[in-house]
Symmetry: C2
Subunit: 337 residues, 2 copies
């Protein structure tokens, strides 16, 4: 335990409440204080970065929605009507959307969306590498750049959008953990039974293709997607800059797993926002020894779960910063046993 963490625990114990009475919120308060190295932590400015990209595998009938939805959703983001935009306004969170590989010409991307793509969607991962190593590095760098653009924020939340990306994330999760593909593949946006069977076959084919590879960066290039590579870069950069990183759902958690496998030191900067209804999320969380704050049955992505957790971070920081201690308030502590 760091000195900062010990000091934060001691301070929490002095607050006018029974030990542990704030449960997870108290633990979060200690975590934020330790990360920010202060007994007056603050989660003021927060930015959500949503990385969007398309997936070659979407041509294999693995999604309930057509590929065009990724592109169309860029417009919903640009106009502020997407779920993440609505929630971000409600909770005073900035949003930046970065196109790191949507299947649309750069000049057709709506204004307000950052364009940072080297290709328009990945290759079909059941047949070929999702992207080259150079393309992976470019997507990773796009994530790093987004964090640098954010500037002096207290927390960075990462989210994504991309038809077909639960398939890529499931393949990556299975390859990274060795878990059976069946427990990594879920219904995504709501695929039917026949589609789920196609999705499983696609993941199994991709896994056969990468058998023997275990280097996480290599698997990222092989299985994709471009937005997962970008999230990995954003998470690594935010952790390196000592920012709190708020991880959204299934796909963001898989990106966090890649980042932590590359550098375990990143783990302590991560706060997991919510438990997604998507099948593989529990497994990805277990692999990171993570217990999310919320469990609301969300399965939308876009960073929606991450935004919903931000008020809990702000509340936890306020408890550490502002709550009275037994001494300061003149409140009697526990009756001696």
């Amino acid at each position: 335990m760091s000195d900062h963490e010990q000091a934060a625990r001691d301070e929490l114990a002095r607050k006018t409440m029974p030990a542990g009475a704030l449960g997870r919120l108290g633990a979060l308060a200690v975590e934020l204080a330790a990360r920010q190295r202060t007994l007056a932590p603050r989660i003021g400015r927060v930015r959500l970065v949503v990385f969007a990209a398309d997936h070659g595998i979407s041509e294999a009938g693995v999604s309930a929605y057509p590929r065009a939805v990724t592109r169309e959703m860029l417009h919903a983001f640009a106009s502020g009507g997407a779920a993440a935009c609505v929630l971000a306004r409600a909770h005073d969170v900035e949003v930046e959307v970065v196109d790191v590989g949507v299947d649309v010409a750069a000049d057709a991307v709506p204004p307000g969306i950052v364009v940072a793509k080297t290709r328009r969607g990945t290759a079909r991962i059941d047949r070929a590498p999702a992207m080259t190593v150079a393309e992976r590095d470019a997507a990773f760098a796009a994530g790093v750049a987004a964090v640098h653009r954010a500037g002096a924020v207290d927390a960075i939340a990462v989210g994504e959008m991309g038809i077909g990306n639960t398939t890529a994330a499931a393949a990556l999760l299975a390859a990274l953990t060795g878990a059976p593909s069946g427990s990594c593949v879920g219904r995504g946006t709501g695929i039917d039974d026949a589609g789920l069977a196609r999705k499983r076959r696609a993941v199994d084919a991709a896994l056969r293709r990468v058998a023997g590879i275990d280097e996480p960066g290599r698997l990222l290039a092989e299985l994709g997607g471009l937005e997962i590579a970008a999230m990995t870069g954003a998470i690594a950069a935010a952790a390196a800059g000592a920012r709190i990183v708020v991880v959204d759902g299934f796909i963001a958690t898989v990106a966090a797993l890649v980042a932590v496998r590359i550098d375990p030191e990143i783990r302590r900067h991560l706060v997991f926002a919510h438990r997604s209804a998507e099948a593989g999320h529990a497994l990805a969380l277990d692999a990171l020894d993570a217990e999310p704050l919320l469990d609301l049955g969300l399965r939308l992505g876009e960073g929606t779960g991450a935004i919903l957790a931000i008020p809990l971070l702000r509340a936890a920081a306020a408890v550490m910063r502002e709550m009275a201690t037994f001494d300061s308030a003149g409140v009697s502590d526990r009756t001696p046993a």
Copy 2:
């Protein structure tokens, strides 16, 4: 299902996301729209009312903290350093604290606390009725008056403070549901094993005393406490005024159970904020067929859990009010099967 609820469900289905992708948040959005009878629900002004009172049974060694803490905490509330005050500031929630029976002279109550008490704490419920029927009615009326003072708020949250009140709530829960007292009695603020045994004996003695009584208002007077009676009044008044009522933890939920047993119509106005770590809460929630929004292991009371849930209500209302529809955004709906 009401017309308003059906209209809200239809509107949610038009939003640019897969069906059910917002999970509990979507269901909450429908609930708020139905209660406010609009497709543009809003949770703007919110007031938490914290009812404080003492309990005769605290003299029986059922709490880890001395009785004086209830009085001392009035000062922590008055100075804004109590956990509920800190969280309320973080989440833009008004707080009113009402002393409905703290064991302190009215003129010694700190400024800023509303004084509305007919007695200084209840009688020992293992030996006598907690209060008379007239005193119960006065406490209930103090709850009603607090809601009237709140004026045009969109939601009322109810919380409490009172050393010994988990004992009263456990007795009331057991008497109302017929559940074994052992499953209703928990450690409260953290009583040790010997104290827990005393607490169980106290509850069992109280239950023997009220055997045969099943009228909820009568049980409320018999078992207390004054803050539970006041919360019951506040909940009933807020529901009657078509306000959303946000119910905090174990003790507030038991008050909600009393209110719903008196008038089942009240149930649909209630939103349950969080699942407390206190033993009997799960049972009280089951009796109300309630699934709370948060599960953070809180066991502090004061309305802290209710405040933490307010951003979720605001987010849910924003989704219904502001999120784009497939039509308005030009986003493709699901691929036809």
